[in-house]
Amino acid sequence: MIELRQVHKVFNRGKANQVNAVNGVNLSIVEKEFLVIVGSNGSGKTTLLNLVAGSILPSSGHISINETGVTKLPEFKRSEWIARVFQNPLSGTAPDLSIIDNFRLAAIRTQPKGLTIGVNPKFKSQVKDKIASLGMGLENKTEQLMGTLSGGQRQALTLLMSVMDNCKVLLLDEPTAALDPRSAEIVMKTAERLIDEFELTAILVTHNLKDAFTYGNRIIQMAEGKIIKDFDGKEKSALKQNDLFDWFA
């Protein structure tokens, strides 16, 4: 599903502050895999995610998604396959637009944004049903501005938005880092349910080792731009939570 071959990303090349953020990574992620990436700050995991998303382009190497070469493809063109949830709840939604308008945009992620009015009664009731599945009581507030919601509510809605349109890959960039434990759990549970229900391939970058332990069917650890540990589903389920803590000792 996602292939990275000999991918390098160098920031500030040739300067004193040169950083080899990603250093020759080879990674192959199969369909319906739920990959968890852990690693300390500066290990290159977020850069790796950004390379897959296309918000930064690699210095060298080759990336393909769904057997299509995307190495030089800008982010907005990769949206055909990829939906994304950001660390900052504010980044994934437009605060001054209503919930329904946010959902409308998400629903036409892979389609041209045309000159017809898409927010019609049918669409509204469809969105209401989806939002009701969160059990947060937001289904009757669809005309409310996104910016009036809490971080947890926005993050949960962002997740729902990502599966509004045809989606194959879900990128989760520390989605719960800014949330309280209760909201974080709702968001992660929702993510797991949607990944399962829509048979998505997912990548989760996290610092939360409990989440890393609980979710996903493959885990890798990164350090200094390289993958230093790689455990598949069977090996991952054999891991104990304390083993993960030892990785960072």
Binding site: S79, L90, S91, G92, A94, P95, L97, L105, T110, G118
Partner: protein, 289 residues
């Protein structure tokens, strides 16, 4: 001419520029100074074509296209050459001065014995009342078109571009293209104001656009104050308030002059007025918190 009617007509002429500034400043979050140049450009092209006795179906599209081209150029410089939006606008505005002067061939074109948009249709026998009715219809059509546009899928993407760029890129929108289209639209509207004013005052002048951006800004800021005051989220209501903002702004200036303030001081008074509308709500917030 009736004082209030004249002010009302001016306000309506400037409502297009208010809509333009609303799009560039409030929707796209871009301070666009191209306005001064594209406003004059609209007036100049209108005057030149009207003097050549061109019909409205030639003049109007020409004005819109010229304004859009100016805006698109600013957008292109800003997004593709990665130059600060303010500077991009200033550069285009500055260059447009020469363009306008070249088109005109002299610094002022009076419109004598030409049929304008306002003499095209007859709603009323009094020419000023007729102008007023034509303008009402004209502005209503523009507002309806813009309102519809903002409600469409494209319009939602437009509104999100200025609001959350990271989100909208992840949702498959080319934000550079969107900004260029937005600035083109904003400046096409601005040029429309130049087109209307030129016909209303019966001349185009190379200096007619100097400082005109403040008219648009003032109108939008009045509208914004009202939007925040009444917590309005509806697109239609917001647009109506922007139009009202343009008219209120003209009334404030007209009243200022009529109570005997010297026209020499007009720009100072206008600047202070705009400052007051922007500043007062913040001051009162500070006291209450």
């Amino acid at each position: 001419m009736d004082f209030y009617l004249a002010t009302l007509i001016q306000g309506l002429c400037f409502s297009a520029i208010a809509l333009g500034i609303y799009i560039s400043m409030k929707i796209f979050n871009i301070p666009d100074i191209t306005t001064d140049g594209s406003y004059t450009l609209g007036g100049v092209i209108a005057a030149k074509l009207l003097m050549a006795h061109q019909p409205v179906y030639i003049v109007l599209p020409a004005v819109i296209a010229a304004g859009a081209a100016a805006g698109a150029l600013t957008g292109f410089i800003h997004t593709k050459l990665k130059i600060n939006a303010l500077l991009a606008g200033i550069l285009v505005m500055y260059a447009l001065y020469s363009v306008n002067l070249t088109i005109m061939g002299r610094s002022n074109i009076p419109l004598i014995n030409v049929s304008t948009l306002f003499s095209l249709i007859n709603f009323a026998s009094d020419p000023n009342k007729n102008t007023f009715f034509v303008l009402i219809a004209f502005v209503a059509i523009i507002a309806l078109l813009i309102g519809y546009l903002l409600k469409t899928d494209f319009g939602i993407a437009m509104r999100a571009t200025g609001n959350s760029e990271s989100m909208i890129r992840a949702l498959g929108v080319n934000t550079d293209r969107m900004k260029i289209i937005g600035l083109a639209l904003a400046n096409a509207l601005t040029a429309l104001s130049g087109y209307l004013i030129t016909q209303f005052q019966s001349f185009a002048d190379i200096n007619m656009g100097i400082g005109i951006v403040i008219t648009g800004l003032g109108s939008v800021i009045i509208a914004e104050a009202l939007v925040n005051w009444f917590r309005i989220t509806s697109v239609w209501f917001t647009l109506t308030l922007v139009l009202s903002g343009a008219i209120i702004f003209q009334f404030v200036i007209a009243v200022t002059l009529s109570i005997g303030v010297s026209p020499t001081l007009l720009k100072l008074v206008t600047a202070v007025f705009v400052l007051l509308i922007v500043g007062l709500p913040r001051l009162s917030f500070k006291n209450s918190s």
